[in-house]
């Protein structure tokens, strides 16, 4: 397994180099740069803009710009955000805790909901309940997250006053106090529910199909023949087998955890990676944009690897070497 992991990790290097070239080219291909856009004549003048372009190296030939960027990047210097004027690394680290909290909460909500719904559906396939769950799942999958977010704010924040409508914490609470953490959970819950409840479909349906499939297998028949209670068959024998495909999802979720939810974070003014990503695109903040894209690409590759390894762990029949 170690050999396999190392081989995979080495294989990621050419992949990442290719990705970096694509990311860089795409970023530079976008029209305009961080100094163009709607100019405010009060704050600036053409000389300043020309000077900054020179300073930031936008006038260098593209291969040189790429080389400068990638050498810094490999050494851990992600550059300085052209918009926020601080190192990109600090900027990302500032947002990661928020995004992780949101991502993990959302994932937990997804898992719990999917687990309950999937087990119910798998045990009673083609019943009214099963179809209702499938209908619910697909409707949720079909509703765009920005629509759901706006509705959730309108209903739960403005009408019912259950949740705050924006932000990640109430600024008036003392940092580190008990109220502070309660306030953070209170703020994260609504966006997490919107995110989590919307993406249950794949988990639920996978689990359901797997349970149905397993329930027709010989070992289930054997267990029934020897008189094992149905409850035990489903909750122990079948479930253990059916969790396997779900575990692989965990690897894919890895990138999504950090990547955040671009739209949801923006609508909830929840300062995380997703919101940062969107802003860096609109303001052509290349260093931030490229660092985030690279980070997400790496996490996706890493997540895939993790999924493969986990698969081997939970299912010894699959051999990695």
């Amino acid at each position: 397994m170690l050999k396999y992991s190392i081989r995979r990790l080495l294989g990621m290097i050419p992949m990442l180099i290719l990705i970096s070239i694509v990311v860089f080219s795409l970023a530079k291909l976008m029209p305009g740069d961080s100094l163009s856009g709607e100019i405010d004549p009060l704050n600036t003048n053409p000389e300043y803009i020309a000077e900054m372009r020179e300073k930031l190296g936008y006038n260098d030939p593209l291969p040189i710009q790429y080389f400068n960027w990638i050498t810094g990047f490999i050494q851990g210097d992600f550059g300085k955000s052209t918009r926020f004027k601080i190192p990109v690394f600090d900027l990302i680290m500032e947002k990661v805790p928020n995004t992780l909290l949101l991502g993990v909460t959302a994932l937990i909500i997804t898992y719990i909901m999917a687990f309950i719904m999937g087990m119910y559906s798998g045990r009673r396939p083609y019943t009214l309940g099963d179809n209702a769950i499938a209908g619910f799942n697909y409707v949720m999958l079909a509703i765009p997250s920005f629509v759901a977010a706006v509705f959730a704010i309108y209903i739960f924040a403005f009408q019912l006053n259950w949740f705050p409508f924006a932000g990640s914490v109430d600024i008036l609470t003392e940092q580190g106090s008990f109220e502070y953490y309660v306030s953070r959970m209170h703020h994260v819950l609504l966006p997490a529910i919107v995110l989590g409840a919307m993406s249950t479909a794949s988990y639920t349906q996978f689990l359901r199909n797997d349970i149905i499939e397993n329930s027709r297998k010989d070992f289930v028949r054997t267990a029934r023949a020897k008189g094992t209670p149905m409850k035990k068959i489903y909750n122990v024998h079948i479930l253990r087998n059916s969790i396997i495909p779900l575990v692989t999802f965990l690897g894919f979720d890895f990138a999504a955890l950090i990547g955040g939810a671009i739209i949801t974070e923006t609508i909830f003014t929840y300062p995380g990676i997703g919101q940062l990503f969107l802003e860096s695109v609109t303001s052509r903040d290349y260093p931030t944009l490229m660092a985030l894209t690279m980070l997400l690409s790496f996490l996706t590759l890493f997540g895939n690897l993790l999924a493969d390894i986990l698969y081997g762990v939970v299912d010894p029949r699959i051999r990695l070497d």
Partner: protein, 575 residues
Amino acid sequence: MKKKSLLWLFALVLIVSAFLAACGGGSDDASESGSEGEGSSEGAADGEPQKGGTLVYGLDAPPEGLYSSAFYGIATDFEVIELFDEALINYNENLEPEPNVASWETEDNKVFNFTFEEGVKWHNGEELTVNDWVFALETIADPDYDGPRYTNVQTIEGAEAYRNGDADSISGIEVVSDYEINITFDEARVNNLTNLWAYPMPESVLGDVPVAEMSASEWVRSTPIGIGPFKVDKIVPGESVEFSKFDEYWNGDVNLDKIVLRVIDNSSVVGALQNNDIDMISLQPVSGPEVEPLENVEIVTYPGLTYYYVGFKLGKFDNESQTITEELPKYQSKELRQAMMYALNRQEWVDAFFFGYADVVNKPVPSSHWNAADDSELIQYEYDPEKSKQMLDEAGYVDTNDDGFREDPNGDEFVVKFSHYATGNPTFESRAQAIAQYFEAVGLRSEVEMVEVNLYYDMVEKDDASIETFFGGWGTGTDPDPSGLWKADQLWNYPRYNNPEADQLLDDALDIEIVGTDQEKRKELYVEWQKIVNEDLPMLYIAELEEIMALNNRVGGVEYDVSGQNSPAEWFVTE
């Protein structure tokens, strides 16, 4: 069984659409339009100012976090800065400078003598002296400075030499005492004072930070200090800022105990106002009609400094030599441009797309500036399609091949190609189409092209051949001089308008030999200039925007004029 599941699906769809209907309802019933208080307006709550309380200030876009007047880049950051810092010089409702912390004297508009108030404290307890101002000016003139404000310092004598490393200090700055300073400019200009950088920077905390690292330092990002009535207690990056009353504020009492600033998404603004979650926020015109019916919120408008226009590309500009090198023939006919102006129903357009929060204009100087020409002196270009058609006929633009559209005087096909920038805003395309339709109504075939906004301004600036007529907007500052956007040697003169006579007027208005310190005389020259560009129409002036603020009824003491809001020290809330 199958039927039942279908029923379930149907029921679910119904439930979801019921939600949809419930949420849509709120925004539909607000079609009546009404513009309330014009100009400066009192806050919503009446009566005596009350002490204490917390006011929640909303922002509809996240700040970047550069909380220093010398370094900030976007207006949102400045909104935050205004709550905890003050300028040395203020501007009144005619945008004329007024003493705040500093008062000044000058005899020749070249050497200025400034006197500071004594006993003004920074939020860290240090006293403000002229050295803090010198520190700010030298920081901005430093070669490592990465903000955009050098233009406000470069007119000081010796600033250029300091920036090039030829001098250790700026020779035009002479510190007399802790409260007195002389500043000498490189030449006498009438707008030296309004152009000068008038914010001090706290040397006591930033003095040891290298200039290149200042914008990333904690004194700019997380613990900024100023001299204003409120001090920053805590910043949660990108979402909120907590301010509390500064007890040692130099200029009178402060009413509020706290201000909490919250960033909220545009989609939540109306709901947050309705629920009393925020007390005041600057509104987008599109939210106006939804906020107006709310009983707990009052809308206050005040004149803005932004105008929108449809420009014609009349030439090409060479940035190396800073000259207009080529004249483009298509829109050179003044009669054609005037006829196109008469074809526009600007009032209808403004009502439709700015919901009444904008006024039709006929000049490129905001009406509230002291040098704005009176309407009686300008051609008004009332919507008159018949006159437009007649003028086009006379100018030779007639339909020669009976296709329903006019050809140019040579008999060739004539198509008005109109470009507009595209962002995520869905109304931009329809407002561009509306303008094209006005042109088509008088027989000019029109095409609309929507271009992504970053690319758009790049193309406009570089005189790309595909830009012929274009939509644009400019904001003007407290300095009323339009030279930077209008003279033939300026990059941002996007229409490439080249009229030596008009340029001469702009030069004269700044020439101290000609106008001296006589503001009336300056105004005459600017009015003369406005008459020329009003007749020439290198761009079709559309409208100037109003700034819209929503105030909760419990807020009082807030006043606005064209220079912005009054000091937050005077704001109060009633419980």
